[in-house]
Point group: C2
Chain length 340, copies 2
């Protein structure tokens, strides 16, 4: 029994009260959620002719985040954003989220609330509803597994396997920032003294933005042959897209849109900024393979989504996976993989 | 580096190889999965007019199972079955599963394969496909989070909130067996020497059967006002159904279909078999609220599904939650809740 009469941990509150706290925080579900939190399962109505796009991804304590580094609200937000990024890469609109929380009994209730608030905020930012899930105790590790459900018309679905030799590769935003943000955290940086551009790297690591509008805009215009997101780095994404499309790939090192602070950070530590940016994970930018004849439609579609893109290379007829700088050609490095 | 040249743990194999092992084990996806394992997300086509039913549930090591007690294949199978039970309670047909695995690096590869085989076997038993998910390392605890997606026509959906005062309550199968199975494991029973009826309790705990056919049959006939499954025990299910339906509930202690071995087990340990059966969790039977005028249609529907049912009580106009035995009336006990 607690000596403090206030409820302070999730164990003090109990499972039913936690579900009720989630229900209150989630608010009124969207009209397409006909049964939401509190039944055996959620029920969702699809728009006529749409297919369901479904993805699940988890954040595990001490693997994907540390509670001592990152605020609980950001953890909740990121757990949803990384899933919405996968929906974006398929051209789908996020509709519903299921939240599986595995919580050590001593998790502070305030952290629980903040995590759920982060989940709900990210749902609302993209017009989706938190529609269900479950809570269980976990003896030693806090983990969040999120399932995101989206909808898209089947002829407007993007996959990573649709690329063709000769397709131009375009990348949204910039890369290297999230990896730099992680390096800052690993170096126990003092947030209060960070320069703006490094603070941006930290934000990019802790609160990635899912390019949902961009993915949908390009998919809706059928302006790309293939797409995937960059969760495990550009080299990994390019390699996987090429493998799935049965093509090779060549990336132009000089064209890569490397975040300025990430470039400076690499140079200061004696690393090659291009090599670092190729393997740095968690940027959640989108990589598109665009046939030359669709280039104008593609550029118009990303412009409508108010996203910057850079042409960074091509898919090729040969099977090599490489990046070039001037006359030098290098094998694409591997990306981050769990269990190495 | 391992001194043994054979690959033996998931860390030795690596994430990509693990995904490939899952893809091989999952086999060819059903025709409604138009994009399966290996892309950013799975894509599923719904039957015309159907809504999506979605649920997620996780099994966490040392909370829901112990690796020293239960074979990995059974863990995988149960992780899916408990989700299909939720779909069954909504009247939905299972179509697709997303599998999130959180694995300590030293998880033996043979255990990984067996868990995935269990997942696939349970999917196949109900005509569903393993369509996606993700794998991540987990520093200390093995956890499986499964999302199950099903389809149902909206007017044939069952919820727990549709009950009306006067509805008759019916329960499939028998209760108390799974809790007895767990007690056997906690008592470090020797499997080799178990009597058949106790071995059945162990099976009911480790390999629960989701009553998918029964749920769909009753829902398809619109023969029940409400339904839910018994994951946290009968008392809890009855209480939750009544709360959601804004009714009271009365259960007839003498009518409860208590598993014979569970009854004997309770009596031998000096416990009241009815009280034990009310709170024993994990039986995954279905509880139905049936209006008297639909009784014949209901009984015909469960008979077609070849499931036994027992009438065990009623929903009531007053708000009391109780069970009775002869002239004695008792408040319904609470069920198992995480963080109790």
């Amino acid at each position: 029994m607690s000596v403090n009469p206030q409820i302070q941990t999730v164990a003090d509150a109990g499972e039913r009260a936690l579900i009720e706290r989630i229900r209150v925080r989630a608010g009124q579900p969207s009209r397409w959620i006909t049964t939401g939190i509190g039944d055996d399962a959620a029920v969702m109505t699809m728009n006529r002719g749409e297919v369901v796009v479904a993805t699940a991804d988890s954040l595990v304590e001490d693997v994907h985040f540390r509670r001592s580094w990152t605020a609980p609200r950001a953890i909740g937000q990121k757990a949803v954003a990384v899933n919405f990024s996968d929906l974006a890469a398929m051209g789908a609109a996020p509709r519903a989220v299921l939240l599986s929380l595995m919580l050590p009994p001593d998790t502070p209730l305030a952290d629980f609330d903040a995590m759920v608030d982060g989940v709900v905020a990210e749902c609302e930012a993209h017009g989706a509803s938190l529609a269900g899930g479950n809570i269980t105790s976990s003896p030693r590790v806090l983990a969040i597994d999120v399932t995101a459900l989206g909808g898209v018309h089947p002829r407007r679905t993007l996959t990573r396997s649709g690329g063709r030799p000769g397709d131009e590769l375009y990348l949204t935003g910039s890369i290297g920032a999230a990896a730099t943000g992680l390096a800052l955290l690993e170096g126990s940086v003092d947030r209060g003294t960070l320069a703006d551009d490094l603070a941006d790297c930290l934000r990019r690591y802790e609160a990635p933005i899912a390019h949902v509008r961009c993915g949908r805009s390009v998919a809706g215009n059928r302006a790309a042959n293939a797409c995937m997101d960059l969760s495990d780095g550009l080299a990994d994404a390019a390699r996987q897209m090429a493998q799935a499309s049965r093509t090779g790939v060549v990336l132009e090192g000089k064209q890569l849109p490397i975040h300025a602070a990430a470039r400076a950070w690499s140079e200061r530590s004696g690393a090659d900024p291009v090599a670092s940016a190729l393997i740095g994970g968690e940027d959640y930018e989108l990589l598109f393979a665009v046939p030359a004849k669709r280039r104008r439609g593609f550029l118009a579609a990303v412009k409508r989504a108010q996203v910057e893109t850079t042409r960074i290379g091509s898919l090729t007829a040969d099977s090599r996976m490489r990046w070039v700088r001037g006359d030098d050609s290098f094998e694409l490095p591997g990306g981050y993989a769990h269990f190495g």
